[in-house]
C-alpha cells in the first residue's frame, strides 16, 4: 500500500509532476540526441578519413615517412599488396608510389604530395572516383593525366585540361620535371585531398623516377567486422623489413578525438543529470513541505522512518519511471528519422568542411546509450530524492501535526 500511496502522491499535483516528467523527457532527449549527433559527427569524420585517405592500415618502409625519400620503397610491394588482398578479412588493397614535390601552373606553384596510383584499385580503396566534381576520373586522356583537389586548383588558378608541371627528385637524386594535364578535379572534406595531394597514374610516374616499378605505400581496407590490429600484427610478424600501421597510429589525432569525444559524452551525461537532480530535489522538497502535517500524522500513528524515507524515494522513482519511457521513445523516433534523412548543416558547411566534417550528418546511437541513460535517470532520481526524504524523516511529528 505504501507503493500505492507513493504512486497516488505522484498525481496529487499533476502540474508539478508534469513539469518534472517533462524535464526528464527533455533531458533524456537532449542526451540521446546529443550523443547521436556527436556519433554522427565522429562517424562521418572518421569514415571520411579512413575511407578516403588513410584506409584501415598502411604499409611502408620503416624509414619512409621520415623524409619521404623515393629510394625507401617496399621491396616487392606490388606482389605483397596482391598477397594481402587474399588474406581473410581483407576487402581491397592498393599500392602507391609517393613522393613530395612541387606543382606549377603557368601562374603559380605549390608544394604537394604526388601520389602515383592504380586508378581502378584506388577507386576501390579510397573511392577517389566518387569525389570527382569536374572532369573525369583518369578517362579521356591517354598521356599523363592528373587529378587534383578543388582548393589546389583554385590556388594554382587552373581548370580542366590545364597543363601543370610536377617537379621532384628521382631515385638518383636528380631534379626531374614532367608535364601533366588536369583531367579531373575532386572535392572532399579532407584538407589533404582538397589541397595537398596530386594523383597521377603509377605507370606514368614510374617513367620519371628511375626507380623501377617500386611502390612506397600499400593501403588496405578490411571488412567491417575485422579488427585491423590483428592483420597489422600478422604483417609485421611476416615481413619484418616493412612496417604496417593501423589508422590509429597513422592518424593518432583520430584516436585522441575518439577518446575525447567519449569523455565529452560522459561530461554531457553528468551535466544533464545534475540539472535533472536539482529539478527533482526542488519538486520533491516542495511535495514534502506541502505534506508536512500528513507526514507528521503518519509518523505519529506508527509509520517508521524507514517507510517514510522509502515512500518519498519511491515517489521520485515513479516520476522518473513515467518520464523515462517517453523520453526514450521520443529520442528513438528523432534518431530514427534523422538517421534516414540526415541533419542538414549546409549553412555551416564551409566551416565544417574546413575541419574535415561533412555538412550532412546522420545521427545514431547504440542500444547501450538507451540503457546507460535509463540507469542514469534512475540513479539521478534516487540521489535527487535523498535530501527531500531525509527532510521528511527529520520532521518532528508534534510540530508537523500543528503545521498550518
Amino acid at each position: 500500500m505504501i507503493l500505492k500511496i507513493a504512486w497516488k502522491n505522484v498525481w496529487r499535483s499533476r502540474g508539478r509532476s508534469a513539469v518534472v516528467m517533462g524535464s526528464i523527457v527533455v533531458g533524456i532527449w537532449a542526451l540521446i540526441f546529443g550523443t547521436g549527433f556527436m556519433n554522427g559527427f565522429m562517424e562521418s569524420y572518421m569514415a571520411d578519413v579512413i575511407n578516403h585517405d588513410v584506409s584501415n592500415f598502411q604499409i611502408h618502409n620503416p624509414q619512409f615517412k621520415k623524409d619521404y625519400d623515393v629510394k625507401l620503397f617496399i621491396p616487392d610491394g606490388e606482389q605483397k599488396a596482391e598477397e594481402i588482398r587474399t588474406w581473410p578479412g581483407v576487402k581491397v588493397t592498393t599500392s602507391r608510389a609517393i613522393l613530395n614535390g612541387m606543382i606549377s601552373s603557368s601562374r603559380k606553384g605549390s608544394g604537394i604530395q604526388i601520389r602515383g596510383i592504380d586508378p581502378k584499385e584506388e577507386a576501390e580503396v579510397t573511392r577517389l572516383d566518387s569525389l570527382i566534381i569536374e572532369g573525369t576520373y583518369f578517362e579521356g586522356m591517354s598521356r599523363n593525366p592528373i587529378v587534383i583537389g578543388e582548393k589546389l586548383a583554385e590556388e594554382l588558378k587552373i581548370k580542366l585540361k590545364s597543363k601543370v608541371v610536377l617537379t621532384f627528385n628521382d631515385a638518383k637524386g636528380n631534379l626531374t620535371a614532367a608535364a601533366y594535364r588536369v583531367v579531373g578535379i575532386v572535392k572532399s572534406s579532407s584538407v589533404k585531398i582538397n589541397s595537398q595531394y596530386a594523383y597521377v597514374r603509377k605507370q606514368d610516374l614510374f617513367k620519371n623516377l628511375a626507380n623501377g616499378a617500386n611502390v612506397h605505400e600499400i593501403a588496405v581496407v578490411t571488412n567491417e567486422q575485422t579488427d585491423e590490429e590483428i592483420l597489422v600484427a600478422k604483417y609485421n610478424e611476416k615481413y619484418k623489413e616493412d612496417k604496417a600501421e593501423s589508422w590509429r597510429e597513422i592518424a593518432p589525432e583520430l584516436a585522441i578525438l575518439q577518446e575525447m569525444y567519449s569523455q565529452s559524452l560522459y561530461i554531457l551525461l553528468v551535466i544533464i543529470m545534475l540539472a535533472l537532480a536539482f529539478g527533482i530535489v526542488n519538486t520533491m522538497l516542495m511535495a514534502v513541505l506541502e505534506r508536512t502535517r500528513e507526514l507528521g500524522m503518519l509518523m505519529a500513528i506508527g509509520m517508521n522512518k524507514v517507510r517514510v524515507f522509502f515512500m518519498v524515494v519511491v515517489e521520485t522513482i515513479y516520476l522518473s519511471a513515467v518520464g523515462t519511457p517517453f523520453g526514450l521513445f521520443i529520442s528513438w523516433l528523432t534518431i530514427k528519422y534523422y538517421r534516414n534523412v540526415g541533419v542538414d548543416l549546409s549553412n555551416y558547411s564551409e566551416g565544417l568542411e574546413s575541419f574535415g566534417y561533412s555538412s550532412i550528418l546522420y545521427p545514431f546511437v547504440t542500444g547501450d546509450a538507451y540503457v546507460i541513460v535509463s540507469i542514469g535517470v534512475v540513479i539521478t532520481a534516487i540521489v535527487g530524492a535523498l535530501y527531500p526524504a531525509w527532510k521528511a524523516i527529520k520532521l518532528n511529528p508534534v510540530e508537523a501535526l500543528h503545521k498550518v
Binding site: K8, R293, M303, N304, L401
Partner: protein
C-alpha cells in the same frame, strides 16, 4: 487494570533560555474502559499532556507508564513501534490520507502492523460498519463530510487494537449534529467494547458525555472528577 499511569511529570520548554513550565508535577492513573476528558483553558498544558501520553514527546521529569510499560526513556525509534501497537490517535483536523479511500485509510495502520490483507479488509469493514459509514468505503476523504471523516479517523484509531484512544479536540471542527453522532459512536464503543478514550477538549458536549473529567490550570491538575 491501569492503562495509563502518570507520575509527577513536568514539562519545561526552553530550559536554557526563558523556561516555560507547561506541566508541573502531574500524577494520575487511567483505568481500562474509562471515558476521560482532559479540559482546561488554552495554554493550560492539555496538548503537552496528550503528546506525552501519546509518546510523541518526552517529559522533562517524571514517569509515564502505558499498559505496564515505562515509555519515559524510550528511544524515538522504539516509541514509533510502541505507538503503532498501543495507542490510537484521533486528530482535530482528521488527518486522513487524501489519496486513499476510506477503507484503505482504516486498513493502512494494520498494514503497518503487518496484518494479513484478508483480515485487514474484514476488520476495516467491520469498523466502518460500526461507525455507520460502510457505504462510504470506496470514497475518498474529500468526498465525505467533516463528521464522516472524523468517524473514519476513529475507525482508523481502533483498527490497530490499541490500549487506548487519544483524541485531541476531536469535535473542534464539527457541527453539533456531527459532534453528537461522533460522541454517541465513541460512547457506544466504550460501553460495548470496553475501549478506553482520553480526550482533550473545550467542548461542553464532550465534557458532559465524559465519565471522568480532569481539569488542568497552569500545568497542574485543578480537579479530577468521576461522574
Amino acid at each position: 487494570m491501569s492503562i495509563i499511569k502518570v507520575e509527577n511529570i513536568t514539562k519545561i520548554y526552553n530550559e536554557t533560555k526563558v523556561p516555560v513550565h507547561a506541566l508541573n508535577g502531574i500524577s494520575f492513573e487511567i483505568q481500562e474502559g474509562e471515558f476521560t476528558a482532559i479540559v482546561g483553558p488554552s495554554g493550560c498544558g492539555k496538548t503537552t499532556l496528550l503528546n506525552i501520553l501519546g509518546g510523541l514527546d518526552h517529559p522533562t521529569e517524571g514517569r509515564v507508564e502505558i499498559a505496564k510499560t515505562d515509555i519515559t526513556g524510550m528511544k524515538d525509534k522504539d516509541l514509533i513501534d510502541f505507538r503503532l501497537n498501543n495507542i490510537g490517535f484521533v486528530f482535530q483536523a482528521y488527518n486522513l490520507i487524501p489519496v486513499l479511500t476510506t477503507l484503505e485509510n482504516v486498513e493502512f495502520i494494520m498494514l503497518l502492523q503487518k496484518v494479513d490483507k484478508k483480515k485487514r479488509i474484514e476488520r476495516a469493514m467491520n469498523l466502518l460498519r460500526e461507525m455507520g459509514i460502510a457505504d462510504k468505503a470506496n470514497q475518498r476523504p474529500s468526498e465525505l463530510s467533516g463528521g464522516q471523516q472524523q468517524r473514519v479517523a476513529v475507525a482508523r484509531a481502533l483498527a490497530s487494537k490499541p490500549n487506548f484512544i487519544l483524541a485531541d479536540e476531536p469535535t473542534a471542527n464539527l457541527d453539533s449534529v456531527s459532534t453528537t453522532n461522533l460522541l454517541d459512536m465513541m460512547a457506544k464503543m466504550n460501553k460495548e467494547e470496553n475501549e478506553t478514550f482520553v480526550f482533550s477538549t473545550h467542548d461542553q458536549r464532550v465534557i458532559d458525555k465524559a465519565r471522568r473529567v480532569i481539569t488542568l490550570v497552569d500545568g497542574t491538575i485543578l480537579s479530577d472528577e468521576t461522574k
